[in-house]
């Protein structure tokens, strides 16, 4: 095999007191890939990343970074990390935070390079506590990149940012990706996964429910939702072309389909008394639902 597994979860589960946050996940991330772990809040993304970082011990299975234990210094000096933080010490300057983190790594970027990559040039003497929300997030990103690691983990990198700051942060991440680095990010925004990643792994309720290129995943989530009251049975509609799921919701049926116009046409042809037609874009939640149900059915 030409590909080198940089990060690996092998049959990994994580149980907390009451919930199983991760259920028997197998995941292999190869050199040069930009992988987004996409899923709703509480799906187990952060738990999965924490195990890859050696912050959590798997209840079962094995997590490996560069073929070694994630806690080993050898894997840590090749890895940069951005976690969900409520803050870092307010009374240190931008350049001081970067200098400290750079010192942990054998071949760090220069201060100037790090500042430029994270778009913080000119702010190096400002205290962290005096930065705006977007600037703080960019410094968290800078701390992940300043060591010039081969692999970077970004846990929900743009949560809480406005649209402009989010796009600006994407630019910085792209700048880093362009250096040929491997990136693993978690997000609950499909848009973000699509903007950055070349592979999307969809996680819901602790399990991987889809793994593919952004266009493959978008095709699944590009479904539209039809609500209609009809005398047809769910089974009849499910058999129609393009329909991926049918759910009874009160008197109405909720249908997920990749070909909304054709589905509506088909339904009306067989039941011209159908009423209450609504067609909307299916959200990620619907897509997760559809994927989960398919998985159960399979």
């Amino acid at each position: 095999m030409m590909t080198e597994a940089i990060a690996e979860l092998k049959g990994v589960s994580k149980n907390y007191a009451k919930v199983q946050a991760v259920k028997n996940i197998d995941l292999q991330i190869n050199a040069g890939e930009v992988v987004a772990l996409l899923g709703p809040n509480g799906a187990g993304k952060t738990t999965a990343i924490s195990m890859l970082l050696g912050l959590l011990k798997p209840s079962a299975g094995e997590a490996l970074l560069f073929g070694q234990k994630p806690q080993s210094t050898e894997s840590r000096i090749r890895t940069g990390v951005m976690l969900q933080l409520s803050g870092i010490p307010d009374t240190l300057k931008v350049k001081e935070h970067i200098a400290l983190y750079s010192s942990y790594y054998p071949n760090p970027l220069s201060l100037a390079e790090t500042l430029e990559l994270s778009n913080l040039t000119g702010l190096e003497n400002r205290w962290y506590g005096k930065l705006s929300g977007g600037q703080k997030q960019r410094l968290h990103l800078a701390l992940a990149m300043c060591g010039n690691p081969d692999l970077v983990f970004l846990d929900e990198p743009t949560t809480g940012l406005d649209v402009a700051s989010r796009r600006s942060l994407w630019e910085q991440v792209r700048g880093f990706i362009d250096k040929g680095k491997t990136v693993v990010l978690t997000t609950h925004y499909l848009e973000e996964a699509d903007a950055l990643a070349d592979r999307i792994v969809v996680i819901n309720q602790g399990a991987i429910i889809a793994d593919g290129t952004p266009s493959e995943i978008k095709a699944i989530t590009a479904d539209r939702k039809i609500r209609i009251t009809s005398s047809l049975s769910p089974a009849q509609i499910l058999a129609m072309q393009g329909v991926s799921s049918v759910k009874q919701d009160g008197v109405a049926l909720e249908i997920l389909t990749s070909q909304a116009e054709r589905t509506v046409y088909n339904i009306l042809q067989e039941d011209n008394n159908a009423t209450g037609l609504e067609v909307t874009t299916a959200g990620l939640e619907d897509a997760f639902l559809a994927l989960t149900q398919e998985r159960k059915a399979a």
Binding site: T46, E74, S86, P89, Y104, W127
Partner: protein
């Protein structure tokens, strides 16, 4: 591949990591008024009010300004360690900063050594400030060796309080940590005879004092100027050692419990 990693690791300057970690820990704390002012100002003000402004009496071989220089000095260094570790660890744990550090290639010990170095620096500042005030306004005249001994006892002797702070830092949240530290710190200091000489305390407190760590640190420092209660020096060291180990174990247990608690 293996040899490549070894050379990579060699290129990290471990000494530099420890140095920067300690330097920034100190700068960070010095710039934080709530920490810098309260740890330095409280013992200084107490010493000025209670140790210097009442005129001079004799405390055995020394005057009262000298006696209180040692007792408020001990009070001050205990505060620097308790707050540095207690409030500091609780805050950094609460922010998620500590998890990020754990995931980084920082040598894990560097975090704690930096905090110890920071507390030692603040202890030294408190020591020098009190001595200067005592020298100028209270006729505190101590030989260089005595001063050095008292300083060394204060800095090394604050270890059990660093351990105590660490346990508190892992036990409670960032918002309650400073209050909890004060609740432990102030009564413990009072009952150990750091504010009012132990002989002047109510009898029941005099009986409690030997169970408290600050009492033993104060007695060690007092022994340099011969105003201690006359207990065995080794006994004081053993009690302080037991306190250190006990709270390190508690901190470790709380740290293990903390793992994985912050997310789901």
């Amino acid at each position: 591949m293996n040899s490549g990693q070894v050379t990579q690791d060699k290129k990290r300057n471990i000494v530099n990591i420890y140095w920067l970690e300690a330097k920034y820990e100190f700068l960070k704390s010095l710039r934080l008024p709530v920490f810098a002012l309260s740890t330095i100002l409280f013992p200084t003000l107490f010493y000025m009010f209670f140790g210097l402004s009442f005129g001079q009496q004799d405390f055995g071989p020394v005057n009262s300004a000298t006696y209180y220089f040692v007792s408020y000095g001990v009070f001050g260094v205990i505060g620097a360690s308790l707050f540095g570790f207690g409030a500091g660890v609780a805050a950094e744990r609460g922010q998620g900063w500590m998890r990020l550090k754990q995931a980084s290639p920082m040598p894990p010990l560097a975090y704690f050594v930096a905090k110890l170095a920071m507390a030692a620096m603040f202890s030294t500042i408190i020591f020098l400030l009190l001595w200067l005030l005592g020298f100028l306004f209270g006729e505190v005249r101590l030989a260089a060796l005595q001063l050095l001994s008292i300083w060394a006892i204060m800095v090394v002797g604050s270890l059990p309080f660093a351990a105590m702070g660490l346990a508190i830092g892992y036990a409670v949240g960032p918002n309650s940590a400073p209050a909890i530290v004060n609740l432990v710190y102030l009564p413990m200091a009072f009952a150990s005879g750091l504010w009012i000489p132990i002989q002047a305390l109510p009898e029941f407190l005099q009986k409690i004092a030997p169970f408290l760590a600050p009492y033993h640190l104060a007695q060690l420092a007092f022994s340099v100027i011969n105003v201690d209660q006359g207990d065995s020096v080794l006994g004081h060291i053993i009690v302080l050692g037991i306190y250190t180990v006990l709270f390190l174990v508690i901190a470790l247990i709380l740290y293990k419990r903390d793992e994985g608690k912050t997310f789901g």
